[in-house]
């Protein structure tokens, strides 16, 4: 054991040695000069130091990867939400654009028609598949009357068969109970278009004597007292024999009767607009 005096002496010697080392370093040009002993110590420690540094690098890389994965998960969830929101926005805008297009064609028709026109939104459909009727949100309070013709910008749709003050039921052209007097625009052949219960209509009582070609535009003749003349019903799709005297054909309706959303009700009894 060292005495107190020896301990103090040893401490002072170490202190002086450190101060000398420090002073030598500071005065030297490169401020850090390693002797053979310090170089040896560093050399001996280097492999362990490097190995430990590599371990730390690995741990830090793994941690960075882990935090990156977490960040990416959050980012992914945010982007998914954003994509979902944008998809909803696109659907809404597409819906708006389609509605605008439909309303534009209705407006164009309304501008041409010389009658009072009531625009109505389809609020119901007949759930039974063998009848083709729809319910609209305009009724007798708006002046809608029974047998008023109903059209869209594309063409004829049907006629009103019943009304309440705030709604009306419309019998579509595709309903088997529906019949409309028509004329083929090019051949001027007269016939009657009836519903089939399906997507297409059938035209009856076409004369065999006249040259009728598929593709001819079918318009209302004004006979029958429901539809005014000149409203497009559809286009003649095919022809077949309907007996000795007449021929029959299939008509593809101009208006998409299965996907109606807005319609115009023509009030023929009212004063012309």
């Amino acid at each position: 054991m060292l005495t107190g005096r020896a301990r103090s002496l040893l401490f002072i010697m170490m202190l002086l040695a450190v101060l000398a080392l420090l002073t030598g370093q500071v005065r030297g040009e490169d401020r850090r000069r390693l002797g053979p002993i310090t170089t040896g110590v560093l050399t001996a420690l280097a492999p362990v130091h490097i190995a430990m540094a590599r371990v730390a690098d690995g741990v830090f890389r793994a941690w960075e990867l882990y935090t990156e994965i977490g960040r990416l998960r959050v980012e992914n969830a945010r982007l998914r939400e954003e994509a979902q929101r944008l998809a909803q926005e696109v659907t809404r805008l597409r819906e708006t654009a389609q509605a605008a297009q439909r309303l534009e064609s209705l407006l164009a028709f309304r501008a041409q028609a010389p009658y009072r026109v009531v625009a109505a939104r389809v609020v119901g459909r007949d759930p039974a598949s063998w009848f083709a009727t729809i319910v609209v949100d305009r009724g007798s309070a708006d002046g809608v009357v029974r047998n008023a013709p109903v059209v869209t910008g594309e063409g004829a749709v049907g006629r009103v068969i019943e009304t309440t003050p705030f709604s009306a039921r419309i019998l579509l052209l595709s309903d088997p109970r529906s019949a409309v007097g028509v004329i083929l625009q090019d051949s001027r052949e007269i016939g009657v278009v009836e519903g089939t219960g399906g997507d297409d209509l059938q035209v009856k009582y076409l004369s065999r004597a006249r040259a009728v070609q598929p593709g001819d535009v079918v318009i209302t003749s004004g006979q029958g007292g429901v539809f005014p003349p000149g409203i497009v019903v559809g286009r003649l799709a095919s022809l077949r024999s309907g007996g000795e005297v007449f021929r029959e054909g299939t008509v593809r309706p101009a208006a998409n009767l299965g996907r109606l959303e807005e319609v115009l009700i023509l009030l023929l009894q009212g004063p012309p607009r």
Binding site: M1, L2, R7, L10, F11, M14, L15, V18, L19, L21, L22, Q25, V26, R31, R32, R33, L34, T38, V41, L42, L45, V48, H49, M52, A53, V55, A56, F60
Partner: protein
């Protein structure tokens, strides 16, 4: 025992320079050698200055600073802890924490004085504010492991001595 203590200080210096250096707080990192050399100086006061000198020199070597800078600071801390170890009851529970906090301040002041005198690096008063507090907090984190290691070393050495004495007795 000297070899074991040396190995402990070398391991602390390596952990300090390879691992803890990657976890800075307010520009400060945990200095595990500081509480370790205090723990050594408390148990074996005669080794205090030497442990401080060795730990400081290792730090100077591994961190690439001027040789003698940390050696001087840690020599003074080791000597101070050794004096405490001889004069007060070192088993008081708060003493390691208080001494480590004080040693961090002393080390910072010594480094500041040396850097100012030698003009090695610019020193500002701001270095003794938040960074010093962060340094104290970080070093306090290393107190318990450092003292636990030294206690384990003491227990190990006592067990070996008892076993040795038992073998001689037989």
């Amino acid at each position: 025992m000297g070899i074991a203590l040396g190995a402990l200080l070398v391991a602390a210096a390596l952990v300090h320079s390879a691992w803890l250096v990657r976890l800075p707080v307010e520009g400060q990192i945990v200095d595990p050698a500081l509480p370790l050399l205090i723990a050594i100086a408390f148990r074996w006061p005669q080794w205090g200055p030497l442990a401080g000198l060795g730990a400081g020199l290792l730090q100077d070597l591994l961190f690439g600073g001027s040789l003698g800078l940390f050696a001087l600071a840690k020599l003074l801390v080791g000597q101070g802890a050794a004096v405490l170890g001889r004069t007060v009851l070192v088993d008081q529970p708060l003493l390691p924490w208080i001494t480590t906090a004080a040693a961090t301040v002393v080390q910072q002041i010594v480094l500041g004085i040396v850097l100012v005198i030698t003009d090695l690096l610019p020193v500002s008063v701001g270095d003794f504010g938040r960074p010093l507090l962060a340094g104290i907090g970080l070093n306090l984190l290393a107190v318990w492991p450092a003292f636990a290691l030294v206690r384990a070393l003491v227990a190990l050495s006592q067990r070996r001595r008892i076993r040795g004495e038992g073998a001689h007795g037989l």
